[in-house]
């Protein structure tokens, strides 16, 4: 399934499969559509942990397809404190929200070493013209991310720190299950407690205390950049959220004709 020009050092077969997996999470892609997507790819860009994938200053001219590694959108408020608004995993498209704004309100930072593909916005525009079904799939994925943000917003507003942390762990493990085969009770966790705190709106000190509580309750434990889920049912109960169930849309436009 490797396309011509896709055999870069960091954007090879396995990674590309992940991207296709993500894009086809609502409906299988036609061969022509896979080819159409491959045609959009630019050259990959490699970033170190902590680097800015997208700045908050620059007028956005490109989107970024995350090929490898984790990233997060960060909003910095007037008083300097930082909130991470979402975590992006391989296969995610970065920068879509910023299309609506003259200058983005968020920056995207690499949480791990990361590889991105820069895609000019005109390419997305062209995709809307010649591949309405792909456009709608991207639209749907974007809506799903929005639902994800809405849930986190609700948790931030109403739930206590322990619940928020449990929900974050649960949702992250569900998302990772998308592109790893097995349901992982051992998931990689490259985030520091500071970053976890920035995600759930809590100080790093308190994150530590909540992790301690969850560990002593036998729910999860963290060690060596790995999160171990010991009791998934208990975790779901702590989080108080129901399972994430993507829609199975029957009303998508028909697949584009080849050529």
């Amino acid at each position: 399934m490797t396309m011509p020009g896709s055999d870069h050092a960091h954007a090879g077969g396995a990674q590309r499969t992940r991207v296709i997996t993500r894009l086809s999470s609502f409906a299988p892609l036609a061969e022509a559509e896979v080819a159409r997507l491959a045609a959009m790819s630019g050259s990959p860009r490699l970033l170190k942990r902590g680097a800015h994938i997208r700045g908050a200053d620059e007028t956005p001219t490109h989107l970024n397809l995350l090929i490898e590694g984790w990233a997060a959108s960060a909003i910095t408020l007037a008083d300097g404190c930082r909130q991470l608004t979402m975590v992006s995993l391989p296969g995610d498209m970065l920068g879509l929200p910023s299309l609506a704004m003259r200058e983005p309100i968020d920056a995207v930072v690499a949480l791990t070493p990361a590889v991105v593909l820069d895609i000019p916005v005109e390419a997305l525009s062209q995709l809307f013209v010649d591949s309405p079904r792909l456009a709608m799939l991207i639209f749907l994925i974007s809506q799903e991310e929005r639902v994800f943000a809405m849930e986190r917003l609700a948790l931030l507003g109403q739930a206590k720190a322990r619940v928020r942390l449990a929900a974050l762990f649960l949702r992250l493990s569900e998302r990772i299950a998308q592109f790893e085969q097995m349901v992982p009770d051992q998931i990689p966790m490259p985030l520091t407690q500071q970053e976890l705190g920035d995600l759930i709106g809590v100080s790093a000190v308190h994150v530590n205390a909540m992790i301690k509580q969850l560990r002593e309750a036998g729910v999860v434990s963290m060690a060596a950049r790995t999160l171990s889920i010991h009791d998934r049912a208990a975790l779901a109960k702590e989080a108080g959220v129901s399972r994430w169930r993507r829609s199975d849309p029957s009303w998508l436009p028909p697949a584009a004709q080849p050529g």
Copy 2:
């Protein structure tokens, strides 16, 4: 500019203009596009204050175009407490996020008496096929709402109640300025303090205290379902957010040809 079939009791000229205004906030619409939108309209539905425009149970088969009145998305957590995740004003499309989920995680409630137009999802799908430019405009508006949600998420996570309330007032007044001509320093405020609290993740009691502080600081005051902004600069300073600046995209697809 009234289209045939648009002269309903509650969906007449002025309201329809608002909808067009909202949809053309990123780029002016061609005549054919206005006609294309008018062709999507169903029959209007009138709802009382507090009524559910969209439930959290039903599998979504329709979108809802808000013609008149205010609405809000509400997420109810396991412990029964409620978070309002966004406020919708006339011209907004309701239900787009739910397209991604098998069952929606949020309900949409009318904050005032409201009028909506139900639109089957297939109509949106068709719009992606035959009007890529309109589809992308809806995509952009949806992204703008997502940025709005991200900002509120950041405020919920990092800012104190007073800042959150100030930011909410500021953004609401900016949004209302979109479809009212003058910059309004007297804006209608149909929300109760309980609802304001559900929006900014604070108890109604504390909302009251924060309003009192803002009033005594000479920033805003509330009376008779009306918010008066006495010192807009001070309000912006309290909120600590910069002005909302929509993008002016040059990379949209070309307007659809008539016919």
